[in-house]
């Protein structure tokens, strides 16, 4: 009996001690929760599911989530190596592989549910696909940065660095060829709807009929206007009516009239460039009607009113040379869009930025090819549940999903690979 009492007492004392400790920790947890918070993500290594037909992706150069939370990507079959196309030869040289169609549609579970794209009648398919946007009516917009047959470059337009040469990012004025001077609009089934611009017709950054290697589009639901980040050849944002394609307005950095003067190589210690460098890589409007423009090589975001009035700018990883740090953005899904998610393809990170202060709160990702790592993270988009989707160019060549895990206290500025820790509830 005494033994039972003794054990019972020990159990009760243990329970009381653990209970008090848990309660104290709860209070500490409440204090921690009130500290700086940021959305937390975990990579989903099982997303998407394998592609059928031995299909393989090339440089995956755009991603967009539509109103049904379907994920659309565009890639460049032309970037695949010969060995990656061996299965597509006639007769096949090997079992692997064949280029996937340029545009692929996935459902939330990562199943491939649609695919189309490529040259057709009535439109000029880009020489090098670039960027995809599914607009508020469900239509699919694409751009391109293909130069077509490349003439010899003049010395003044030579690449500024080895990285520039490798990535063909810096395009200057001169006699270089610019094939993809258009954006295209399709239905979700791939039916052609509209083309703005014609191949090889661009007359530069103040030509209002043609684009020059346009990178990405944004369609404003409120005004039914399409904003084009234009692009790899021009130094501007240009706006058209999204149904008729009629020109509305355009402007360059700080709201200036754009010009195509050669800015020379990017110098992080020099005063900020007064024009956008190539490429102007994204243009997105927030809920409070500010336009955020990615000036990729200048490592900065510039913020405008929709009429082109300059508001402010911020630099990110300003020392980044080569292909720059500001590639693409997506806004968080809270009603105020408190955060910006910035794809930084040169540093291979996604930065979580406070939209008010334009300061990096924390970052995740690491260079590499394993799940949760990046090599050339090029594009980013967000679904209605707050999950992020990224695509990678260069030899990254894939789409990844980062599952939104709610808000969490910021404990480090650089989270590294956000490997899954807990199952979704």
């Amino acid at each position: 009996m005494n033994r039972k009492l003794y054990v019972g007492a020990v159990v009760l004392v243990l329970l009381a001690a653990l209970g008090i400790a848990a309660s104290l920790l709860d209070k500490k947890a409440a204090v921690e929760a009130a500290a700086v918070q940021a959305p937390r993500f975990e990579v989903d290594p099982m997303w998407p599911k394998p592609l059928p037909n031995h299909w393989i992706l090339g440089e995956t150069i755009g991603v967009s989530v539509d109103g049904q939370d379907h994920i659309w990507i565009i890639h460049r079959a032309g970037s695949l190596e010969a060995n990656e196309r061996a299965g597509a030869a006639n007769p096949p040289n090997a079992q692997c592989c064949a280029p996937a169609p340029p545009i692929l549609e996935f459902d939330e579970a990562g199943n491939l549910i649609g695919h189309w794209g490529g040259p057709g009648q009535g439109y000029d398919w880009p020489d090098s696909n670039h960027g995809i946007t599914v607009d508020y009516k469900g239509n699919v917009w694409i751009g391109g940065n293909g130069r077509g047959a490349q003439p010899a470059r003049p010395a003044a337009a030579a690449p500024a660095s080895a990285a520039d040469a490798q990535n063909s990012e810096n395009v200057s004025s001169g006699t270089a060829s610019y094939n993809d001077n258009m954006i295209l609009k399709f239905t979700q089934n791939g039916k052609f709807l509209m083309q703005i611009g014609k191949p090889n017709h661009s007359k530069g950054s103040n030509d209002v009929e043609n684009l020059r290697l346009p990178a990405k589009t944004f369609i404003d639901k409120q005004t039914n206007e399409v904003y084009v980040a234009d692009g790899y050849g021009n130094h501007r944002v240009i706006v058209f009516d999204a149904d008729t394609g009629q020109y509305k307005r355009h402007w360059g950095a700080y709201g200036h009239k754009p010009d195509d003067a050669n800015l020379g190589p990017y110098d992080p210690n020099a005063p900020p460039a007064q024009q956008f460098r190539n490429p102007v890589h994204c243009a997105e409007i927030s809920v409070d009607r500010f336009l955020y423009v990615c000036d990729r090589i200048n490592d900065r975001i510039q913020v405008f009113k929709p009429d082109g009035t300059f508001i402010k700018e911020a630099f990110f990883n300003k020392a980044t040379k080569g292909s720059g740090s500001v590639w693409d953005i997506a806004f968080s899904k809270d009603p105020q869009q408190k955060y910006i998610f910035l794809a930084d393809g040169m540093n291979d990170r996604v930065h979580i930025i406070d939209r008010n202060s334009l300061e990096i709160v924390t970052s995740f990702g690491e260079g590499g090819r394993q799940p949760g790592e990046f090599y050339g993270v090029h594009s980013i988009s967000i679904d209605s549940k707050g999950n992020l989707f990224t695509t990678e160019t260069w030899r990254g060549q894939r789409v990844q999903k980062f599952v939104y895990k709610g808000m969490a206290p910021v404990t480090t500025k650089d989270q590294g690979v956000v490997w899954p820790k807990a199952a979704a509830k």
Binding site: K4, V7, G8, V11, L14, L15, L18, G19, A21, A22, S23, L25, D26, K28, A29, V31, E32, A33, D66, G67, Q68, H70, D107, N111, I113, G114, D135, Y136, K137, G138, N139, T187, Q188, N189, K191, K221, D243, S384, P409, T411, W419, P420, K421, A422, A423, K425
Partner: protein, 456 residues
């Protein structure tokens, strides 16, 4: 035989005629394809003498409707209303059966219809959705592809009381290859009950009474144990050496108590949520079968030893049951505990049925076919072989997950301490039960050893 031949000929003839008819039909019949993935959103709100059903469904899911077009592929919003109403009736109200106190509600009135863009987010709440379906229409000159739009429709069903028992049977699987229905039920009082079904879930009681929830979960528990090969093999190994009900009672009870504890803990979100946890449990379940089979082969299993092991492995199997339950707890209504206990009851009934079938079969086998010891070894070896392969397979799945210690933050530490409290309670309980069992066993042995007064 001639009759069979004639009917075979008739079948072939009918098939040929059908094929000819299908091939000769105008192409427009096949103009629309069945979409892969359709999400149907719905609100059900009883209010006074009315039940409102508010539904959003993609137009492309109405595969044989011909919507008026301004130009090829572009919806003519000025002329679409009659087609929308027809589609709403054929594809929504005719397909979604609603019941009040088990009597089907018929002839709803269509209050209004709207075309919405896919990017419209008004179906996040009933109020927003209602405002949308009764609010301004898209301008007639909006240029939009018909198969990129959604039909929003509000139905009004007359009912007797908003406090009746309502049930729904959404027979909408034909809308697409995979149809997800996201349904929210808003009974009077402000509660919101959310459901998510894939394809046709059968009759769903939106606010089940306790006995209705209990019946559903007893049924699920019963079917789950019969369907779960690994649980069955574990049970099989458990009883091979003990084939008398009296001996099995403490063993099976111990297993039941243990799996009930972890099942309840898991349902109340007290279980670990790590990604590696389900594969770990699956692997441990296979291990439990291997262990039990090996113990049968080696021999020396006693009832006392076995109920303790059954308790330990029961904790593991309870988590396994909880994974199966996760998607179905939405049918519990407000009766979560009742439903969980009912699920357990169903599992017990299933186990009893298995025992009732297996024990006589094993008895007959050991009596007429093979000696008990040899039979136990052969059967257990077969089970061990199967479970060993499961274990290896599941281990290889588990190895793919990367275990990572959570960062030392206060919230997970507090959770860990609560888990330790539960462990202390369980350890104390086990210690007490073990003492009681031992005490009774000793008393029983002493009673048998002592000479009765009559013999003195």
């Amino acid at each position: 035989m001639p009759t069979q031949k004639i009917s075979t000929l008739r079948v072939f003839g009918a098939a040929a005629i059908m094929a000819a008819l299908l091939l000769s039909s105008p192409l427009s019949t096949f103009a629309h394809t069945i979409p892969n993935d359709v999400t149907l959103q719905a609100f059900v709100k009883p209010s006074g003498a009315h039940l409102y059903l508010l539904v959003r469904v993609p137009l492309k899911a109405m595969s044989d409707m011909e919507f008026p077009e301004r130009e090829p592929g572009s919806l003519d919003l000025a002329r679409v209303d009659p087609t929308l109403r027809e589609g709403a009736t054929r594809y929504v109200s005719d397909a979604i059966e609603l019941y009040e106190n088990d009597i089907r509600l018929l002839n709803p009135q269509i209050v209004d219809t709207r075309v919405a863009l896919e990017s419209d987010r008004s179906f996040t709440s009933y109020e927003d959705a209602l405002a949308h379906v009764t609010g301004p229409r898209l301008p007639d000159d909006t240029s939009v592809a018909w198969d990129q739009t959604l039909l929003d429709v509000l139905f009004d069903y007359p009912i007797h009381s908003d406090k009746s028992n309502f049930a729904i049977h959404p027979q909408v699987a034909g809308l697409g290859l995979r149809v997800v229905t996201v349904l929210r039920f808003l009974p009077p009082g402000g509660a919101i009950r959310a459901f998510e079904f894939v394809d046709d879930p059968g009759l769903v009681r939106l606010d089940p009474r306790w006995y209705q929830a209990a019946a559903r979960f007893v049924d699920m528990g019963f079917l789950h144990i019969l369907d779960g090969t690994d649980h069955l093999l574990f049970l099989f190994c458990l009883i091979i050496p003990f084939r008398r009900f009296r001996e099995l009672i403490p063993v099976v009870t111990s297993f039941t108590v243990a799996h009930s504890i972890t099942l309840l803990a898991s349902a109340y979100n007290l279980g670990p949520s790590a990604l590696w946890f389900p594969p770990l449990i699956e692997m441990l379940i296979a291990l439990s079968i291997v262990y039990m089979a090996l113990e049968n082969i080696v021999g020396g299993a006693t009832v006392h030893r076995r109920w303790i092991i059954a308790f330990g492995f029961g904790l593991v199997h309870g988590f396994g049951f909880s994974f199966a339950l996760r998607q179905t707890l939405q049918f519990a209504g407000t009766h979560l505990l009742t439903s969980l206990l009912s699920f357990n009851l169903g599992v017990e009934l299933g186990q009893l049925l298995i025992l009732a079938l297996l024990i006589p079969v094993l008895d007959l086998l050991f009596r007429y076919v093979v000696a008990e010891r040899m039979g136990t070894i052969i059967l257990s070896a077969m089970v061990a072989h199967t479970a060993w392969h499961w274990m290896i397979d599941r281990w290889s799945v588990l190895r793919r997950y990367q275990f990572e210690w959570p960062a030392l933050q206060a919230a997970p530490l507090a959770t860990a301490l609560r888990w330790m409290m539960l462990l202390v309670i369980l350890a104390g309980l086990a210690w007490f039960l073990w003492g009681e069992m031992r005490h009774r066993a000793l008393r029983g042995a002493a009673g048998k050893a002592a000479p009765s007064p009559r013999n003195v």
